[in-house]
């Protein structure tokens, strides 16, 4: 496996990672400018507290996302759970709810004097629901916004899994649980780890939920520094601390991935994996799915629907336009396509030519994902306004910003897909006299398509709801659904914000569904 990678591939991958790391360069520039003050901030007690609080939130959200995402994935791919298709789509959908909308909705539903309290007040005389501000609220909103990462990636891995491995274990007399633990889990471990990583990075970078829930995380502190002091040194130092935490998370993920080799022989087995009969576990399984979907999807939809209802009963004209919706879908498709395309060279390098260099490049490309959107936006403002004026405030730069923010999501898809394709197949192609590029198109590409689509879909959904970079980098007048939601929530006009939020969810739903159907049929097809 220690073949030397072709030089052009290394160059292209390095160039891509270099461009994606621009925000890091910017942060270093700003920190160095700060001189001694930077050190003062770095060694302050307040910073230590922030780091601890951030760590607690990341651990809580990631742990819960795994505990929710993995069972859901298994139930919807491998068992005879009733309405599997529905659960699979519904459980993935919360991914399209922006965390700031989730937080708003949960405050309305579970906050003091919220809808839940009012429901309980009458019949049960409950005077106080548990406090939602702080950790509980931030944890809830972020878990809901992120567990679908684990769910989607793990579902894909479970569907893709060669059932003959499990059959062999069962044939050797191992119990179902042992088989899951010893055979299934190691194979899907990279996907679980990749999902957990995306959850952790999202939590590190989130501002919407933590600000509404008043939880002190590093990202909130970065925003507050920008908003209060107009001094860019402390914000840059805090953001670099975030990068350091990200590096730690990346090391942990690499460990968690394990050393499992997960190549399979072909594109899929001639038969789908056998379905596990749930028997008496059907009822608890349904209760579990209902609770998750109820809290993560139905509560937000109900609150949004309630708000939207107020807008419809209002006398004022709605003034609804489809333009932001069209813009959102268009720009998100572009971002998804671009992110997948540029993730391929890095993914190929990492999956096919493992070395210290390829690992470093791959890990470095994750840095942008844990940075708050405002940092990425301001760094690109700085570089583009001063060194690339023709692209400043164009859609091209906006797409580039999305690629920087969401590159790891595309990479997670392409790398996992590439790893599941045996290099032997590619070697066979080359042995038959095909050029490497030809082999890629004829052999590798068809096998990795489902993985690439999964990665692209994640980028698409993340872009649909992206706000901070969109606000600062879009061409003037380019409205998206996310900017529409912001425009109304910023003046407390929730009834008007609800409509674009519902449209955002509605437009993303078919994609989530189609993606599921597509990957399912692809991996089920005879190889």
């Amino acid at each position: 496996m220690s073949r030397r990678p072709p030089a052009p591939l290394v160059l292209v991958a390095a160039a891509i990672v270099g461009l994606i790391s621009l925000p890091l360069v910017y942060l270093l520039v700003r920190t160095v400018e700060g001189g001694e003050r930077a050190w003062e901030i770095l060694f302050s007690r307040a910073l230590l507290e922030l780091v601890v609080d951030t760590g607690v939130l990341v651990a809580a959200v990631t742990g819960t996302a795994l505990a929710v995402g993995l069972p859901l994935a298994w139930l919807t791919t491998r068992t005879d759970l009733p309405w599997r298709g529905f659960w699979a789509t519904a459980a993935a959908l919360p991914l399209v709810i922006p965390s700031y909308v989730a937080a708003l909705v949960f405050l309305a539903a579970f906050g003091p004097r919220g809808l839940l309290q009012r429901l309980l007040e009458g019949p049960f005389g409950v005077e106080r629901v548990p406090e939602i501000y702080g950790l509980p609220g931030a944890w809830l909103a972020l878990t809901v916004a992120t567990y679908p990462f684990v769910f989607i990636l793990t579902s894909a891995a479970l569907r893709d899994l060669d059932p003959s491995l499990e059959d062999a274990s069962r044939g050797l007399g191992r119990s179902r649980l042992t088989t899951f633990r010893r055979v299934t889990l190691p194979v899907i471990r990279p996907s679980l780890a990749a999902g957990a990583l995306l959850v952790a990075l999202y939590t590190l970078a989130d501002f919407g939920a933590v600000s509404l829930m008043q939880y002190d995380s590093l990202t909130r502190a970065v925003y507050l520094q920008y908003r209060a002091l107009f001094d860019r040194t402390p914000a840059a130092v805090l953001a670099l601390v975030l990068v350091a935490i990200t590096a730690l998370v990346l090391v942990l993920e690499l460990r968690a991935r394990g050393r499992a080799r997960t190549n399979r022989a072909g594109s899929g087995s001639p038969r789908p994996a056998p379905t596990v009969a749930l028997g008496g576990w059907k009822a608890p399984a349904l209760v579990f799915c209902t609770s998750v979907v109820g809290i993560a999807l139905i509560v937000p939809l109900a609150v949004l629907g309630y708000w939207a209802g107020r807008a419809f009963s209002d006398d004022e004209p709605l003034g609804w336009s489809w333009e932001p919706a069209v813009n959102s879908v268009g720009i998100s498709l572009l971002a998804a396509g671009a992110a997948v395309a540029v993730s391929l060279p890095v993914g190929i390098l990492a999956a096919r030519y493992p070395s210290a260099l390829s690992r470093t490049l791959e890990r470095l490309s994750y840095a942008g994902n844990a940075l708050p959107g405002i940092v990425i936006a301001l760094s690109l403002v700085f570089f583009a306004a001063n060194y690339a004026t023709p692209v400043y405030q164009t859609l091209a730069l906006l797409v580039f910003a999305y690629v920087v923010r969401f590159f790891p999501q595309a990479l997670a898809g392409s790398e996992a897909a590439l790893q599941r394709v045996s290099p032997r197949l590619e070697e066979a192609g080359r042995a038959l006299g095909r050029r490497p590029a030809d082999v890629f198109v004829r052999v590798t590409a068809p096998l990795v398509t489902p993985g690439l689509l999964a990665g692209g879909a994640l980028v698409f959904l993340s872009t649909m709801k992206e706000l901070p970079a969109t606000l600062l980098l879009r061409p003037i007048g380019f409205e998206t659904l996310a900017t529409e939601i912001w425009r109304y929530t910023s003046v407390a006009s929730y009834s008007r914000a609800a409509l674009p939020a519902l449209v955002l969810i509605a437009l993303s739903a078919p994609l989530v569904y189609a993606l599921r159907a597509r990957t399912a049929s692809d991996s089920g097809a005879p190889g």
């Binding site: 307040a46 403002v381 164009t394 580039f400 006009s493």
Partner: protein, 339 residues
């Protein structure tokens, strides 16, 4: 990567977004405004300006502080001609970076001295007053304190809401420091903190919480009430104005500035002039839901609001707030309101 850029550019061109003419400083006769004020609130005002002047205005909406940071990063290449901000702090930060042009005296002199930059780099365009929003079911108006100094009374323990990380609260504390002295201001903050006030992200949630009865009193700017009432007309919340000379009764402004080095200086000036014209100021009295105070002589505030003259507020210089902010934040940290 080049492919990506080409792809993006191609789409931009296809979509006809005209992204080729609004870069850098040269933007073909269009006035570019960076606005930290919400589109829902001042969009109609900008339309009125376009009709009155025949000038095409392009507006980038965002958070005031983030837009200030954006202009600072853009430096000499900023496409912005005008910065229309929510607070003197954002404007002051750009003045500190020497990115604002001087405004002509005849524009500046339209507003009272206390509402403009003494060096003439920015001018207030509308006023907002710190008030106490109270829940009308729990309290009658005469029970609401007339001075913020009474908020340390144990009667209000756990019943007050405020937004410690919001620029408007920080300005309020700066005003108290400057008028009472640091020592007494800190003493008040400590007493206030001992009353376990509840924290919120910004002003609107404070008013909403007061309406819901989550708190009884909220420290906010006066105009958020009208936004909340617009969304929930029967919300049980009202404003109580503090005594005119109370150290907490700060009158602050939203304001505008011309970005230095703009190639549309004439148009930019025309816009700022319009904001301070009688028509531009009447907007706050006659059209805007949120009932901010007009600042020029001869235009009265919306009915039901106390006259601006009666709200002396603490005798402080809004322009000094930028330099004082650091000390205010330090004090808020010491008291434990922020990290």
């Amino acid at each position: 990567m080049r492919n990506l850029l080409v792809l993006g550019l191609a789409v931009a061109a296809l979509a006809g977004c005209g992204s080729d003419d609004d870069n850098g400083g040269a933007n073909g006769g269009k006035l570019t405004i960076y606005s930290g004020r919400e589109e829902e609130l001042i969009g109609p005002l900008i339309e009125k300006f376009e009709q009155a002047s025949g000038i095409d205005a392009e507006v980038r909406y965002g958070d005031s502080a983030e837009l200030a940071a954006t202009i600072a990063e853009e430096g000499d290449n900023s496409p912005a001609d005008v910065f229309f901000a929510q607070d003197p702090g954002s404007l002051g930060s750009l003045e500190g970076e020497e990115l604002l042009a001087e405004l002509p005296d005849d524009v500046l002199e339209r507003v009272p001295e206390r509402f403009r930059d003494p060096d003439g780099h920015w001018v207030g365009t509308s006023g907002r007053v710190r008030v106490i929003a109270y829940n009308t079911e729990a309290l009658s108006e005469d029970e609401v304190p007339d001075s913020v100094l009474d908020l340390t009374d144990p009667r209000w323990k756990g019943k007050i809401g405020f937004a410690p990380t919001n620029a408007s609260f920080q300005a309020f504390v700066t005003a108290m420091r400057l008028s009472m002295g640091d020592e007494q201001a800190k003493e008040w903050l400590e007493g206030f903190a001992a009353n376990d006030p509840k924290t919120y992200e910004k002003n609107t949630p404070v008013v909403e919480a007061a309406a819901a009865g989550e708190i009884e009193l909220g420290l906010v700017n006066h105009y958020y009430l009208y936004l909340v009432k617009e969304e929930q007309p029967d919300a049980a919340v009202a404003n109580h104005f503090l005594n005119g000379d109370d150290p907490g009764a700060l009158v602050s402004v939203a304001g505008a500035a011309i970005v230095d080095g703009t190639d549309d200086e004439d148009q930019a000036r025309e816009f700022v002039e319009y904001l301070l014209s009688e028509e531009g100021q009447r907007f706050y009295t006659e059209e805007a839901e949120e009932a901010e105070y007009p600042l020029i002589e001869g235009v009265e505030p919306k009915e039901g609001l106390p006259a601006l003259d009666s709200l002396e507020g603490p005798d402080v210089d809004l322009d000094a707030f930028g330099a004082e902010l650091e000390r205010t934040l330090e004090m808020l940290r010491e008291v434990g309101f922020t990290t």
